[in-house]
């Protein structure tokens, strides 16, 4: 769960501090790896829409 620093593993940490211009130079493999964490798996709730429809408010 934790890295040696005591901070949590963060799927986007590798891109921290990058501008759009910096990102344009990032290797495809690194970019896709970070993106993979975000995109829905088949069967997941892809729209990530959390509604109170039918909800007992």
């Amino acid at each position: 769960m934790t890295e040696s620093s005591g901070d949590l593993e963060n799927g986007l940490a590798v891109l921290t501090g990058m501008s759009l211009l910096d990102l344009a130079k990032v290797d495809d493999v690194v970019l896709e790896d970070a993106l993979d964490r975000l995109l829905p798996e088949p069967g997941e709730v892809g729209d990530r829409l959390w509604d109170k429809g039918g909800c007992a408010q």
Partner: protein, 607 residues
């Protein structure tokens, strides 16, 4: 740091656990917002590369021009670029385009979208809006929407044109042109000279201030991505006034309730999408994990309800942002679960989201109890008792699911511990009873709609019943059978039980004068249990009626001593299945009320 005005580190473990315990500070939120910016930059860059790989040259040119302009603004005005790239419209749009190009959308979803070039071209609207606000020179081709130029977060310039137009900035300011028409874009959203000026409609805003803390929220009704939240409400001058008034009162409540949380809310909530109620008296609200900063909601009936809804949706946004950087699920879990606040059956990520939102709401009511008296205190007590019980139950389910990652497990455990701590708060007996009855009604109704018990268990119960056993066999610990995404049962009885403590006068009027209410429900709500039992039994004997079964079991629940009747309390669906089975096994008429009473007897082996 390049590319952003927000300096921050990765998320510290202690901040992660603070979040899990419901402690959301401005500092933590600032860090989460930073990662929302990185996420949206990543989505845009991935989209740009995907367009180059699989779309045409024209589409690639559009996206390159927009990305280039945003990059230029970012280099000179990083905070302005960050503002527009963290708009809820931006994340929603970028994710939607990326999913589209990568084949992650269904055919009906794609059919509902604009042509690909228009869809991708919306990148230019964000770039143009950022460049206008930064005063940066640019010249972009922009797709029109609803007859005009939509500049996200700023406003809409209506030109009664379709297709594509041009948006640029020269020494005289920003201009848009489509067909034969050219118009100047007003500088600054608060420029009174341009408010309501020809063709320009600024994004309506509602603001509030309390004890020196301000909130300023844009109302979004035009952006194409907001349609995903539901049916958008009409938003004219009257509605603007109503929302403004209600926010002002709700903000007083929120700041008094928890100033630290209110400060965090003010920094996150940039946008409200006003929704229509799906049915009169049935409020709705939603957030999306791709739309940081936006809450979609129908106008709640009172300021307290708006304050609660803002807290609820704020927690969804926070957990969505956390989920972007830290994996809380270990694997895809295809099981469906009971959530004490939903009429449908939920996937695990939905249960986690709901649990976190209700953790936040529980904390809200805990503090609200201390700030209120009289009827308001009574309402706060019941809300607190309900939310703490339901969220605790869900946190236990999450922790026991086996599908969370190590971080997710720690998060669920921290939520559970915090809720356990809160549940030790004293609550008056009346509030606890109200909360318990509402929880029982919901659980019974949900299980009757969604859970189908094992035929073998029902056969065992039927044999015991027909054999004259005075108590049912001990089958409470048998595994839960299939949970189906079944159509929920009507919730009118539940709504009335809620109304009983939220607005007692209206509740009394309804049960005394409303002729459309079911007479069994009316008897139950009046406290006439004997009449309610008779009337529910008649309904069941007349036809298959799950709603009547739920009412009948609830009557029994009222009359069973605390700590007994576990089988009926935990497995109410056994009653219906057993009744059906007995009717197929024998010609004798079986009394539903007697069956329910029998199932509420504790098995001999457990006494």
């Amino acid at each position: 740091m390049r590319g952003s005005s927000m300096a921050c580190s990765t998320l510290a473990r202690e901040d992660f656990l603070r979040l899990a315990g419901g402690e959301i500070t401005f500092g933590i939120v600032k860090n989460l917002r930073h990662y929302q910016l990185i996420k949206n930059e990543l989505l845009l860059e991935a989209l740009r590369r995907t367009v180059h790989a699989c779309a045409g040259q024209d589409e690639a040119a559009v996206i390159d021009a927009a990305t280039g302009t945003l990059g230029e603004v970012q280099a000179t005005h990083p905070s302005v670029a960050a503002k527009f790239m963290t708009l809820p419209q931006f994340g929603s749009w970028a994710a939607e385009c990326l999913f589209r190009l990568r084949g992650l959308l269904s055919a009906p979803q794609i059919d509902a979208l604009p042509p690909l070039s228009i869809h991708l071209g919306r990148a230019a609207t964000f770039a143009a809006a950022a460049a206008i606000e930064a005063g940066h020179p640019f010249d972009l081709t922009v797709p029109l929407h609803a007859g005009g130029f939509s500049l996200p977060g700023l406003g809409m310039m209506y030109l009664e044109a379709r297709g594509w137009g041009r948006c640029w900035r020269n020494g005289d300011g920003a201009l848009v042109a489509a067909g034969s028409r050219t118009a100047a874009v007003p500088a600054g959203r608060a420029d009174p000279a341009h408010e309501g000026g020809k063709g320009w409609v600024p994004v309506p805003r509602i603001t509030a201030q309390a004890h020196g803390l301000a909130i300023d929220v844009g109302i979004e009704i035009l952006d194409p991505v907001v349609q995903r939240f539901g049916s958008i409400s009409h938003f004219g001058q009257d509605e603007h006034g109503l929302w403004q008034e209600r926010l002002a009162e709700a903000w007083q409540i929120l700041v008094s309730n928890d100033r630290q949380a209110a400060e965090a809310i003010a920094s996150v909530l940039t946008t409200i999408v006003p929704l229509r109620e799906p049915r009169k008296g049935y409020p709705t609200s939603a957030t999306s994990g791709w739309a940081w900063g936006a809450a979609a909601l129908s106008l709640p009936p009172d300021p307290l309800s708006l304050a609660e809804t803002i807290v609820h949706e704020f927690h969804h946004l926070i957990l969505g942002a956390l989920d972007d950087i830290i994996a809380l699920m270990a694997k895809v879990d295809r099981r469906l679960y009971y959530a004490p606040w939903r009429d449908d059956a939920r996937p695990l990520p939905g249960l986690l989201q709901g649990c976190y939102a209700h953790l936040g709401v529980t904390g809200f009511w805990l503090r609200q109890r201390r700030l209120s008296s009289g009827r308001a205190r009574q309402r706060s007590d019941v809300e607190f008792a309900r939310r703490s019980q339901g969220a605790f139950e869900a946190a236990e389910t999450l922790a026991a699911s086996g599908a969370l990652s190590e971080a997710g497990q720690a998060f669920a455990a921290r939520m559970r511990d915090r809720l356990a701590e809160w549940r030790r708060e004293p609550v008056c007996d009346l509030a606890r009873l109200d909360a318990s009855e509402i929880a029982a009604e919901h659980r019974i109704r949900w299980r009757l709609a969604h859970v189908r018990p094992s035929p073998a268990i029902i056969d065992r119960l039927a044999r015991a019943r027909l054999g004259g056993s005075p108590t049912p066999p001990n089958v409470a610990r048998t595994p839960t059978a299939a949970v189906r995404p079944h159509c929920p049962l009507p919730s009118i009885r539940f709504r009335l039980l809620e109304l009983r403590y939220r607005d007692e006068a209206r509740f009394r009027r309804l049960i005394e004068a409303e002729t459309t209410l079911d007479e069994a429900d009316t008897a139950l709500l009046r406290g006439d249990d004997a009449a309610a039992e008779t009337l529910y039994r008649r309904r069941i004997e007349a036809r298959e009626d799950l709603d009547a079964w739920a009412g009948l079991i609830l009557v029994r629940h009222r009359n069973v001593s605390a700590g007994t009747g576990r089988l009926l309390r935990e497995r109410p669906e056994f009653a219906v299945a057993l009744y059906r089975r007995l009717n197929t096994l024998s010609d004798t008429a079986h009394d539903p009320a007697a069956l329910v009473a029998w199932l509420s007897e504790d098995p001999a082996s457990t006494r």
